[in-house]
Structure formats: C-alpha cells, structure tokens
Subunit: 275 residues, 2 copies
C-alpha cells in the first residue's frame, strides 16, 4: 500500500506515519496539502495522511477545503504531541539570528516563544518544516528554522532551543482515501460537512437529527460560505453503539441542508498522549 | 472617545474604522492583536476594533485567545469586503519578484493567486499589511507586499495586481471594550465561550439550553483545550425578540460547563455587502 504524506523526509507527518503504520508502508512525499489531495485523486497513492487540527492553530483551512473539494473519505485519525525545535546551520546566539523560516501552522504554535526570545525577527514561510530546514541550510543570512528534531538531523542543523511550542501542543492527522459509493460503517466516529441557510432555527433543526438519536457531537465548526448568505458546518459525531441507521439520519439531514457531504466512519484515536 | 486598531495607517482595520465611526474618533494604532488587548486592559484606549473572522482564513486564533485571556466585552461587529492588492516599489514583472511580504491571515486569502502567478516565490510574514508595505519599501531584493490600496498609497508603492484574494473574501471585525459587571441587553446577538468535558451528550445538553428557548446559534466553533480532556466552544446566539432572561439561561449553561464567559450583547451587522 502507498501512503501520501507531507514531505520531504523529516516532517511531523512522516513521524506520525512511521510511528503508526507498518514499516513496509510505501511513503510518497508531497509538497503541499493541496498536492496530497491531487495525488490521491489521480490514483498515484492509495491513501493520504493530512494534518487536520492543531491545538494552537485550529483546523487547517487547506485541509478543510480539500475535504469539500475532493471526493475523499476519512479512514482514521492519529493525534501526535508536537515538539518544535529552533535549528540553524551554526551555533548562533539567539540575538544573532536575522531570519526564522517555518510553516504557517507551526508559526502559530511558536508565536509566544518568538515574541519573547526573538522580538522583531524577520519570519519567512515555507510549505513544510522540512523545506524550512532546507532553506536555512542554503541561506546566506544567519537563519533558523522551526520544526521537528528529525529535520535538524536530516539537514545537519544544530538545535538551538527545544520545546518552543505553546503548552499541550498536539496535531490531529486524518487518514484519507478515495470516496466509495457505499456508506461503510464500523468505527465509533463519523465526519460530515453540511450547508445551512443563515436563518433562525436552521442549526437547531439540523442538530435535532443527532439529538433525537442521542448522538454526541465531539467537534463542530461553522464557517461562512458567503457571509450573510449561509454557513457551512464541519462536524464529528460519536457513534457509541455502532449506529447502523446512518442512511436514515443522513437523508433527514439532507432535508435541512442544501448540501451534505458524508466523509466516512472511523475510529476515535484512543492512545493516551501527553496532550 | 479613543479606539485602538491594528496599525499603522493603511490597514483594513483603519479602513473599517474610518468607514463606520465618526471622523472625530481618536484612532490609536497597535502593532499586534495581543497589543490591542493589552492597550484596552491598561486603559490606554476606551475601545478596540479587532479582526475576528475571515471567510478564507477562518477565526483568527490570536483574537479568539484574547477573548478568553482578557476581561473584554463585545459592543458590535463590522463586516468588510476585503480586496487585496500586490504592490511593489517599482513596476516589476511578476516573474521578476523574488519576495512577497504579507500577514498570515492575508496569506491564507491569497494562496491561490500566489500558487498560480508567483509559484515558488519566497514569502515573508509581517505583523500587519502596513508593516509589509514598509518592509517592501526598504527591501533590497525585488519584493512585493500584499495589502489594501491605502497601504500602497501611504508608502508610495505601485499596484501590480488587484483583487488577488479568493472570491467573496470578507473580514468580520469585533468592537470590544472592558467587561462590565452587569449583563447588558439590547442587541440581537450574544457571544459566549464555554468549556465542556469530552463525554457523550455534553454538547447536546448544553445546546438544549438554547434549543428549549428557540434561540438560534448563528456561529459555533469548538476547539480543544487539552486534547482528549475537553473542548472549548465559541458561540453566537441570535436574540430575535430581546430575550431578557439571559441571566437565567447563563446560569443553566454554567451547570453544564466548567467555565462560561459571557462576552456581551450587540447588534448583528446589517449592511448589505458584496460578501
């Protein structure tokens, strides 16, 4: 089986994949989240693993957009405690650093550290923490990247500081595959995206579909499709006892919504973590 | 009255403030969202206007964090259609540009344009679109900033491209003041943050407080406080008929939650916009 992940080697995606999948897994590296979705759609990989939600940065918009734009299905989730490191090509003092390179969601996780320890430093954006490490390697200015320890190892960088992320910093990854026609059931969670008109009672009526069945929503996020014209909702529903009547309540939800995307049924991540 | 906004002159925050408040308003400029909250807490301004939600970038985490961290109250909201421009110190061809400077939420609004028109360009982060324009002004490389037309005007930059944001790109601003002891009522919307344990039925029971009273939620976003240990919810509740019994249902919500923050009562933004 081939699994597409954010690459190149040294990303948190790789660490998550290596720790949770059999070693014979064939990892295929992509440059961006968008490219991962394209690789899956074009059949270049069987599955992809995308970063989805970080406790500091929230849900990644690119990942959320991909769930709507491409016909994918969620097979599982992994939650990983993320430790961020500041790394550079030489043993600089913090005060010497002219440039920090990182990825937008990682920047959100480390803003407090940067404000306190590198105030006013210039910050450049890379598509992944690994690319950030590569850029620092080839940079003429005194630059530091932020990313996982493995990136420092892969590119021969020195670790200047460790654990520079906000407290309890975790990232949730979603394991995706191409959508199947049939609604599969088995896991204890379901993800759905649906659209509602922005009118009184719309959300309440839609949520009644779940409330009437005593189904708990473990995640809900509304975001404007067009401001003042409607909202889109991403939700995760707990299926504690293997609710086999999904088709029934999906149809009911469709009566309330202009569009419903069923994203699949998978198991809640169970491992105890530091998060 | 003094109003703190993201500065310096030329930001979308300034454009929003100038178009919605009397011209005698004394605008005080801050460097960051965090600094705005501090200015308010320290009594340096009477009110602040913070960018809160963008249709491409979602809710700004720094703004959401501020609502929890500082004792503030929402007095109103403004929704502004945002047009982003690419600007530089000279009339460069797009292919000549070596560096793009912008602010994280603006980057999220313009990623599609950058991928299509400036693939592989280096991207640097500034704390505001105005700072981005300033940086480009003083940059030795061929650089372009992304921001509002006013920033180009203020810093004598040339507009290379206009309307480079994703479609229907709007930003919602919140007008905040220091929290009062008393729960004021008058507007047709209320914002609340509350914490729930991550257990079956928790969200359903909490939402019943609103459902029983036929109160519509026009916005809901859950985000992990500590992964696997609980969730925090930001919600906006429509108060169609001036519900005077807020204290009653707040107390009821407190019975379901480990923490409830009442963020105030204000009027939904009514003006027709392009969003």
């Amino acid at each position: 089986m081939s699994l597409g992940i954010l690459g190149p080697s040294g990303t948190f995606s790789e660490a998550a994949a290596l720790s949770h999948y059999p070693p014979e897994q064939n990892l295929v590296y992509a440059d961006s989240i968008e490219q991962l979705f394209l690789m899956l759609q074009q059949g270049k990989v069987a599955d992809i693993l995308i970063p989805f939600e970080n406790s500091s940065a929230g849900i990644l918009r690119n990942s959320l957009t991909g769930l709507t734009k491409y016909p994918v299905m969620i097979k599982g989730e992994i939650i990983v405690a993320i430790e961020q490191h500041l790394m550079s090509a030489a043993q600089y003092e913090l005060a010497e650093i002219e440039l920090v390179v990182t990825q937008p969601a990682v920047l959100a996780q480390c803003e407090g550290y940067l404000k306190a320890n590198l105030p006013g430093v210039r910050v450049e954006i890379a598509e992944s923490t690994t690319k950030a490490a590569q850029m620092v390697r080839n940079e003429s200015r005194r630059a530091a990247a932020i990313g996982p320890q493995q990136a420092a190892h892969n590119y021969g960088l020195m670790i200047l500081a460790s654990g520079i992320q906000q407290d309890n910093n975790c990232t949730r990854f979603l394991h995706l595959t191409n959508r199947e026609e049939e609604i599969t059931i088995g896991g204890n969670k379901i993800s759905i995206i649906f659209d509602l008109k922005d009118r009184p009672g719309a959300l309440y009526q839609a949520l009644q579909v779940f409330a009437q069945r005593q189904l708990n929503l473990s995640k809900i996020e509304s975001y404007p499709v067009k401001a003042n014209r409607g909202y889109r909702f991403y939700i995760e529903v707990d299926i504690p006892n293997g609710d086999l009547a999904v088709q029934g309540w999906l149809t009911e939800l469709e009566n309330h919504s202009s569009a419903v995307i069923y994203l699949g049924n998978y198991d809640r991540y169970k491992e105890v973590s530091r998060c």
